[in-house]
Symmetry: D2
Subunit: 314 residues, 4 copies
């Protein structure tokens, strides 16, 4: 598979572990990375939404990137989220990420600003022009609201501005059309999906890689899913996915708190239950899940372990 | 009117003038401030959406604040927009604003993050705890998406965390209920509206101040409007407002480009037409209006001048 | 005021009383109409959203219209909501309304269909061409989703297709621009606002009439508010409005159930508390409010009565 | 495959052909049905969004249903859209559909009304109680806005109120969770997807059937796609789907007019190009596509035919 893009396969968006006083827990972050690499992932993506990037200061972001870059030690590429309002500010994030060891950067459309298609294209061109690292567009309308139009993505791929798209749009019709457009253009873009529970389907459709937050909890499962899909063993891919759909119930277990707390909080609580994290502490600014929700999540994990023929390689 | 809150009256959200190479045009910014103060405004609000804050780096933001603080020289308070993703990052903006001379700061709900009411309250409490400056909540869902709930605003006003609310929500029903709740709580909050063409109505409802982007173009008109309202001369207030409604057509004149370009671009183009700015250049990242749109805006301004009995005091 | 449009002043959207078996309670509906007319309203609007029109069969709608037409007996005009998916179906509703005694009809933009501006204009033209009754456009995006563009409304007013607009959009900036455009066009449109708690402000802005659901509960208060506004006594208008803002808390008292139940349910519960209705029963398909919510509403009404110098003329 | 639900396989939502004076073109509708049945479809779905149901009067709807029921003559089941605002009105549509020969009915959540989950459940229960025909819930938020919650769908499946769900939500994460919940409940629901260009993926996920508007244009292609999926030949299914993705470009060819015109209009224009329809006329209320758009659609169809190894069986 020499023709696979640099960013392909299973690339989990890393959770950011915190100490009890709200600082980045460097030692645990190293262990998380080590566990993922040992599980066979093809890359890691720190400072995404799952990494609670919005809550981190510049100093904390720098520490996360340098820690992850050191921990991976070149074994898999490190794709770093550079999340800020507009290009002029994203460039500053991107330079810091580059200096801290990033192999590639991920940027959304402008946030807070309200731009048209040409301005959105200019935004990515400005980032690319300023920072000599592969650039992946992050399509996450639930957070950045404006979407990069299909035509802009394909155009920027052909220009060499973008090397990929991380799709968390929920718009699978758009994703299919992106797959087709990308093929007609000679596959300039690595197409990555963020849909935890549709990875089999999106790989069937033509995704190059998957970026599942749930991959922090069961990386090995996603690696098996991906390998099955690449091998054309769709029955096996679906079976692995269904096992992960069951596990994904952790995200719906919590009814207290915000979407940020319920999502990342569920991943962290499950990682604690599986001894992958010492604490489910979230970033300062995110309230912890209620104890009852935490217990529900542990129950989902326990039932899932009991039901599964394959244990996650914790 | 000794009982008016510190932030009251006409507080225009300042445009940020740029040089042709995209840097902050300090000399022109000083002139804009001088013109507004001479027109009788009661405060200025740099680094709001009208100030294209999203496109400015930290260094540019610092320069804007220090320039405005020096130019006002204590004659009117300077309320500085501190726009970033979450409290930990807003605090850094706020400290910089304080050091550069801000008299108060303005912060939105968390951006990019997805929080619940309690987390939103915690967000403002964290900013207030970290920076000893009056804090105004900025309710601008078209940009920051999440809204601060009415109960949270009133609670934070009573706690002394917030001194005011800048309402750009478009939710006038909510604004009326906020006015009432604030009165029942002893008026802890200064209530400011961002609706350029409903200032008369919102002052009737009980707003303490108005923050019209169009105030960059005709500050004197808004001061007359405000004075008429305070004096209970509603016929006069409505007449002034209607004159400004006519002028506001500049915002609808442009059909090219993004909402950011059409809004701020129209203000800047009209200021050029009125010799209040040497150039309509917008921040790097915002495309200029088409020449035809610029011409339409000039025509609106010309017709408006011809029709009006009162000239703006350019 | 000879130049007032036919539809002006206070035009409450009538609640529809139901018997315990879910049929239209004709006798009570007659009493509701009689009470409103005696309170000085300038028109009535059966079969709007407040009238739970969506839940009524054609036979029930016909019965409501004929009952209201008989009860008003020409003393005030009857404006009937003809709510259906598209023009071909609205026309059938409109013919039935005309035959049952309507003086005018109210229609939304197409529902379920997804149309452009020209098709929306064609929709109203088709209704007007088929039914020889004054036609009012109902702008209620929370229910019909598509909005009639400002230009379309003004164009249709000038064509004689529309005689008015009932604005429940919440877009007061748009309303102000509609007022101005209508004046420039010679006032072809009667502009009616549905904002219960912004009637003073919208009358200041230039509304011709108000269509408050809360007018079922305190019609006399809205008539006083309107009369004060027409007389230019804005202090008095604001005072009456603030009294009604307090009463409007009934709508926020209920936390159980749907928006439909909480809104109309609160009006009906308050009417029961004020002996204006024998039962708060809602249409089949809408669940009753919880008893605790009902009690909260009664408390709001009681406190409101205790606080007010003027009793509603029940 | 004895355990397949009654409604499964390829069930195209039928276009409604119109004569030049806007009446239902009965003879052509019979031919469309005959063509589809001959192409191997497993059911037909008249009076869906693709059938322009929103624009049809009751009399026209009755005529469509009776025509389709006669034309299918029991060879495949006829699932009829009963689209109206709330249960009381849907029931009237459903009775008419039953009397005209429907084998099952399809209903959305309440339209225009704003209901909670319990009221939405009650809505479907009321329809089921009143009309003794299999009932399929139609989840189409772009038109009916409110969505039936996952838990409600599963509960109603287990109660026997619903026999299926037609998913046009675009929410594939929800669809996957629906598939899983339905399996755990013993598969009470037939799960049908409306995603024209994700049929392979949704069949992989576990859909029982597909309801592609594009199936009016190339029914045989969708039948081959479905057969390949049932046989587990995913390479073949994807290849057929990709061929249909190419054809689906017709929907994006048109840039003039509304979404309704561009969607159904493209299907009809392509059917004309393929001699499957004599005229692309749409319902009264929908403007025709521009001639240039029509030409673009013909070009897409021509290129698609030229590229494809398999001709549609016209």
């Amino acid at each position: 598979m020499n023709d696979r893009p640099t960013f392909h396969g299973v690339i989990p968006p890393l959770v950011t572990p915190f100490t009890e006083d709200g600082e980045v827990d460097v030692a645990t972050l190293e262990q998380v990375v080590e566990h993922l690499v040992a599980s066979g992932v093809h890359g890691v993506f720190p400072l995404g939404s799952t990494g609670e990037v919005a809550y981190l200061t510049d100093a904390q972001r720098r520490l996360v990137t340098s820690t992850v870059a050191k921990a991976t030690a070149g074994r898999v590429p490190v794709l770093v989220g550079c999340i800020d309002l507009t290009a002029s500010r994203v460039v500053e994030q991107a330079r810091q990420a580059r200096d801290a060891g990033a192999d590639g950067i991920v940027a959304t459309t402008p946030i807070y600003a309200i731009n048209d298609s040409e301005e959105i294209a200019g935004h990515f061109r400005a980032i690319h022009a300023a920072v000599d690292l592969p650039l992946v567009a992050y399509d996450v309308p639930v957070r950045s609201h404006a979407r990069p139009p299909l035509e802009v993505l394909l155009q920027l791929g052909q220009e060499g501005v973008l090397v990929g798209v991380k799709d968390s749009s929920g718009d699978d019709i758009g994703f299919r059309r992106l797959v087709r457009g990308n093929r007609l253009a000679g596959n300039p873009l690595a197409l990555l999906t963020g849909h935890e529970i549709l990875c089999d389907a999106m790989l069937l459709v033509g995704a190059d890689g998957i970026v599942p937050g749930l991959g922090n909890v069961d990386a090995a499962g996603y690696v098996r899913l991906y390998d099955a899909a690449v091998a054309g063993d769709w029955d096996r891919a679906v079976a692995e996915q269904q096992r992960l759909v069951n596990l994904f119930d952790i995200v719906f277990a919590a009814t207290s708190r915000s979407a940020d707390a319920r999502g990342v909080g569920a991943f962290k609580a499950a990682m604690v239950a599986l001894d992958l994290l010492p604490s489910a502490r979230m970033a300062t600014g995110v309230e912890p899940l209620a104890a009852a929700d935490d217990e529900l999540i542990r129950t989902v994990v326990r039932d899932w372990q009991a039901a599964g023929s394959q244990e996650p390689s914790a």
